[in-house]
Amino acid sequence: MSIVARGVGKVIGHPPNKVLSDITLEIRDGEFVALTGRSGAGKSTLLYVLSSLDPVSSGTVEIAGRDISRMREEELCRFRNEMMGFVFQFHYLIAELSALENVLLPARKTGQAAQRTPSAKRLLEQFGLEGKHERLPRELSGGEQQRVAIARALVMDPKYLFADEPTGNLDSVNGQTVMDIIRQTNAQLGTTIIMVTHDAHYASLAGRQIQLADGQLIPAA
């Protein structure tokens, strides 16, 4: 069930700009990996390429032994829904839905909203959001919004959690809370975590760091 990238390259824009070149790596199940590097190093692009949201320009990405570029859209959608969770720098909560409804959105896709409601509530309570289930995103603080977003990413019990600068918009206290949740998720549920961060401290909390510079991997010292 590992994630394997072989010779992955990514070119974007006009004129073409090579953002990633010849990336080969393997992320084993249950690992907590931090993708680090300077701004523009290609960390986020690699994360989205590995997570199937961004197609590769060259090379292949395999998740659980399956080449994701060969999957049909329907199959890929189901795969994302059941196996992956995403946390972004911005919470991307839907403004019109309550915290609980936002958390249940992935479950609604497969008609499991009712079934997943107890675990959604449990996640919200676990993340310190008891009594705030019915609040709209605008009625929550930045840290609370990000915790709701993490609960949403975890509600389907995904095998993989992709996090792109999850603490980027938070103060240090809220940032630490979010990092604690992510570490706990990895430790207790065995969820594979791939996290982009430019913060050395948060990166050090990961089991392994993969460093990028100019779209290429920097070999570990």
Partner: protein, 417 residues
């Protein structure tokens, strides 16, 4: 997705209401305007079909032409005849040439419900010093009420009294007013060919149409005697079992005889061309409303797609497909369309009920209590719903498709920038 679509619509209440109003007004206007126009048309057809015969067999009026008598006078020998005073005028009286053959043909035709031979003469009615020139229609009273509804409009006296014969007359209300005559009084009827003949008024009728109410009916034999044209008829009024066959039958019969044969709709072709123009205007005006409403939906949905790009990205990352996103936005158009249609049709119906209570003069548009006539035909409501839904759905397709094509990564990248 429908639940989320509803939330989106509720969240931007003002836009939603404004968009809804477009569809609402379009649907309501279609129902009310169509109801009014169709009501008027049906009334018109009803009046034309029921008050008059379905097919009229009319005597053909032939006129002399400048060289029409050349051959009669000079044979074929002289080829160029120059008249100092060329012949002109109508050829003899206009009469149905062989009414008996018509009677046999009509009696044998299963499509014919009834027919009534008529002789219409222009006469002068007088009572004391009051005189009026008007048409006197000679008919078979028993057949005439089978062919037209004239018997239903009798307000005083009895139509059937006409059948007894002996110079009796049923007079239109307008003519009655001009002469100042009442039922059971006597008036004098004179034609160009005869001295004044006394006729007893046995009934008065009022149809509401000035033209129809300024004439009188008598037994055909009496009118033939006054006109000095015994046994002659100049029209045969025919009623069919199915009035929609009238034009086709009229054309067939016209080819078989020298008479002019016209159906009720052929006689009123001008009126129907006006109705056709009205119909075109109706479709154009409603079409314009629907296009505006459609553009309203298109604009609002387009704006929503732009505003909700981040939602689209996150939904796609959770496994929602492009088709789900299309449905999310398309269903908003569907909800707007359906709500607008339901509200519009209901309001249109209520408006039609109100319009029906508006008094409208006793002219040709008036009937019964003299109210506007509104059609409540289900087809109007169906057409209105289909048109409004079509506008709403067409307007939703493009923004929804654009939303479905958005690549989540592009939106995330743009958000990170």
């Amino acid at each position: 997705m429908i639940a989320l679509a509803l939330r989106y619509l509720v969240a931007r209440r003002r836009q939603t209401i404004l968009t809804l109003l477009g569809i609402f007004f379009g649907a309501a206007a279609y129902v009310a305007i169509s109801g009014f126009m169709l009501g008027f048309r049906y009334y018109l057809v009803d009046q034309l079909v029921n008050n008059s015969a379905h097919v009229h067999v009319l005597a053909r009026e032939d006129f002399l032409t400048e060289h029409g008598l050349d051959e009669s006078f000079y044979g074929k020998v002289v080829r160029h005849v120059f008249w100092s005073a060329p012949p002109s005028g109508r050829k003899d009286n206009a009469i149905v040439e062989s009414p008996q053959s018509w009677y046999q043909r009509l009696a044998a035709d299963p499509r014919v419900a009834a027919f009534s031979p008529q002789l219409t003469a222009n006469v002068i009615f007088s009572k004391g010093k009051a005189t009026a020139s008007a048409a006197l229609v000679g008919c078979d009273p028993e057949q005439q009420i089978k062919v037209t509804t004239i018997g239903d409009y009798v307000t005083e006296g009895k139509w059937s009294d006409l059948a007894a014969g002996g110079n009796r007359i049923v007079i239109g209300d307008e003519l009655r007013k001009k002469l100042g005559v009442y039922v059971s009084q006597t008036i004098l009827v004179s034609s160009a060919n005869s001295p004044p003949t006394p006729f007893k008024v046995v009934a008065v009728y009022r149809t509401g149409s000035m033209q129809a109410d300024i004439r009188a009916y008598g037994a055909i034999t009496d009118v033939q005697r006054v006109n000095r044209t015994p046994n002659q008829v100049n029209e045969i009024a025919v009623r069919l079992h199915d009035y929609t066959q009238a034009a086709a039958l009229a054309n067939t019969w016209a080819a078989l005889s020298p008479e002019k044969v016209e159906s009720w709709d052929q006689q009123n072709a001008n009126l129907f061309s006006v109705v056709a123009v009205q119909e075109t205007i109706r479709y154009l005006s409603i079409g314009a409303i629907m296009i505006v409403a459609g553009f309203g939906i298109y604009n609002v949905l387009n704006m929503t797609v732009v505003q909700k790009r981040r939602d689209i990205a996150i939904l796609r990352s959770m496994g929602y497909s492009g088709a789900d996103i299309i449905w999310l936005f398309f269903s908003q158009g569907l909800i707007l369309g359906l709500s607008g249609v339901v509200l519009g049709l209901s309001f249109g119906y209520l408006l039609s009920l109100y319009l029906e209570t508006i008094p409208f003069g006793a002219g040709p548009m008036g009937r019964g209590a003299g109210h506007l006539i509104i059609s409540f035909e289900p087809a109007i409501y169906l057409q209105s719903a289909l048109l409004a839904m079509l506008a709403a759905l067409l307007a939703s397709v493009l923004p929804a498709r654009a939303a479905g094509r958005l690549a989540p990564i592009e939106i995330i990248r743009a958000g990170a920038d």
